[in-house]
């Protein structure tokens, strides 16, 4: 496994508050970014992050450090997000996502004033949910394809091909924004 050391996890499992705080500090921002990019508001993302760590704390006695720690945390986060999605309804989530990804002025003006990074964030926010989630795990969270396939429950080869085509599509959208407007 990677991420925090086994000793740190063992200390957290035994109730060491400092060890658990270290885990929160290391993984918290990544989880927050995950929820934000999935379309959650900042307050909702923070609340969901707390739920993730509460679940991790409850599951720590059963946790076996056989896999990647980040993938374990992100799987819990994804399950929480899906549960939240079901409870609140897709319409509201999409609305929140639109608010977060709202570029403000029209695309032409936006392209003129924003840098390339902003354009990438905008394009990523406009992707389909499945594509955005795939790029989130494979590119932004930098999880190995094997872990991505376990989280999304699809074959590794499918992950590879989808990431490839998603990046190509993103590249084309950057070069020809009018075509995809």
């Amino acid at each position: 496994m990677s991420g925090p050391s086994v000793d740190l996890l063992e200390a957290a499992r035994n109730g060491n508050e400092g060890a658990f705080d270290a885990l929160v500090t290391a993984m918290g921002p990544r989880l927050l970014g995950y929820f934000l990019r999935q379309g959650a508001s900042h307050a909702l993302a923070e609340d969901l992050c707390q739920h993730v760590f509460l679940r991790i704390l409850q599951a720590l006695p059963r946790y076996r450090p056989s896999g990647r720690w980040e993938a374990y945390c992100l799987r819990i986060a994804r399950n929480l997000w899906i549960d939240h999605h079901r409870k609140r309804g897709r319409f509201q989530v999409v609305q929140e996502s639109s608010e977060e990804a709202d570029p403000g002025p029209g695309p032409d003006e936006q392209l003129a004033v924003e840098d390339r990074a902003a354009k990438l964030r905008e394009l990523l926010a406009k992707q389909e949910d499945s594509t955005r989630e795939l790029l989130e795990l494979a590119v932004l969270q930098q999880l190995p394809y094997k872990d991505v396939s376990l989280i999304l429950e699809i074959p590794v080869g499918t992950v590879k091909s989808r990431v490839y085509y998603a990046l190509r599509k993103l590249r084309e959208q950057i070069h020809n924004p009018e075509h995809f407007a």
């Binding site: 990544r30 927050l32 992050c49 390339r116 590119v139 930098q142 590879k160 990046l167």
Partner: protein, 278 residues
């Protein structure tokens, strides 16, 4: 950032395109810096976790306590078994239990293989309606296939046979007495020697003494077959020849008694020499 490679079923990526996609992935990653929590978020989480843990009652949940405490799991398992066992066992017994056979009323013993002691007690029970005592061991003069053919004539013949059997029994009892045994046996022997008094004899001309001798012969030999009708007819004829008030001879009285069971009126002097009274 380097991507793991193109899919195998697509066109092979040129090095230039691979580099472009790797650069785009890195650019995409860099375009999303890790966000920061609002101030106080981590303290809030810290308080939420550890303060609740210190107040275990508020934090207590069944699921959490079962995860932590193996005795809770054992108790929950026992409780579940206790709740489920009763209906499950009831359904199971209905499905595979022995079927109870309907009890059929009848006159045969319900348990045919009773021990011998119980069989004896059953045979001795007065409730079984055994009529052997009243008939003194006499069987009806009918075959088994005619057991229920109780026509009036058959019942009458049966009554006669029974009365003759009763007379025979009393004769046998009287013959056991020492003072009568020798004379009765000697008389019976003489009667047996007389062929004309056998059952196939001609009774139309028989005297009163012949009837009496025939009666004693039947009693002594235990011949309980229904006597010939001619014998009863002769007994009635002899009775009708008697004057009113005259004593009825023993031979006539005996066969009339066997025939219809009625006691004769009057002093019945004829019975005086009989070893028994009907």
């Amino acid at each position: 950032m380097t991507m793991e490679g193109p899919p195998q079923d697509s066109h092979p990526l040129s090095a230039q395109e691979q580099a472009q996609l790797d650069a785009l992935a890195k650019e995409l990653h860099d375009a999303h810096p890790e966000p920061k929590f609002s101030s106080g978020w981590q303290e809030k989480l810290h308080q939420r976790i550890w303060s609740q843990d210190q107040h275990g009652v508020a934090h207590w949940t069944l699921r959490l306590s079962m995860e932590k405490n193996p005795w809770m799991r054992v108790a929950a398992s026992l409780l579940l078994i206790a709740v489920v066992a009763a209906p499950v066992s009831a359904v199971f017994s209905l499905m595979v239990g022995p079927k109870q056979e309907a009890f059929t009323l009848g006159f045969d013993p319900a348990i045919p293989d009773l021990p011998e002691r119980h069989q004896e007690s059953l045979e001795e029970s007065p409730n079984l309606g055994d009529s052997s005592e009243s008939f003194h061991g006499v069987h009806p003069p009918f075959g088994e296939e005619q057991e229920f053919a109780w026509s009036p004539a058959a019942l009458e013949a049966l009554s006669r046979s029974n009365r003759l059997a009763l007379a025979s029994q009393r004769w046998q009892a009287a013959s056991q007495r020492g003072d009568l045994q020798v004379s009765l046996e000697a008389r019976a022997k003489r009667l047996l020697d007389r062929a004309e008094l056998l059952p196939d004899a001609d009774w139309d001309q028989a005297s009163e003494q012949d009837l009496w001798n025939a009666f004693l012969q039947r009693c002594s030999t235990g011949s309980l077959d229904v006597p010939e009708t001619a014998l009863f007819v002769r007994a009635q004829e002899l009775r009708q020849t008697l004057s009113d008030g005259a004593p009825v001879p023993a031979g006539v009285a005996a066969w009339i008694w066997v025939a219809d069971g009625t006691r004769l009126a009057g002093p019945e002097q004829g019975w005086a020499k009989a070893p028994f009274r009907p």
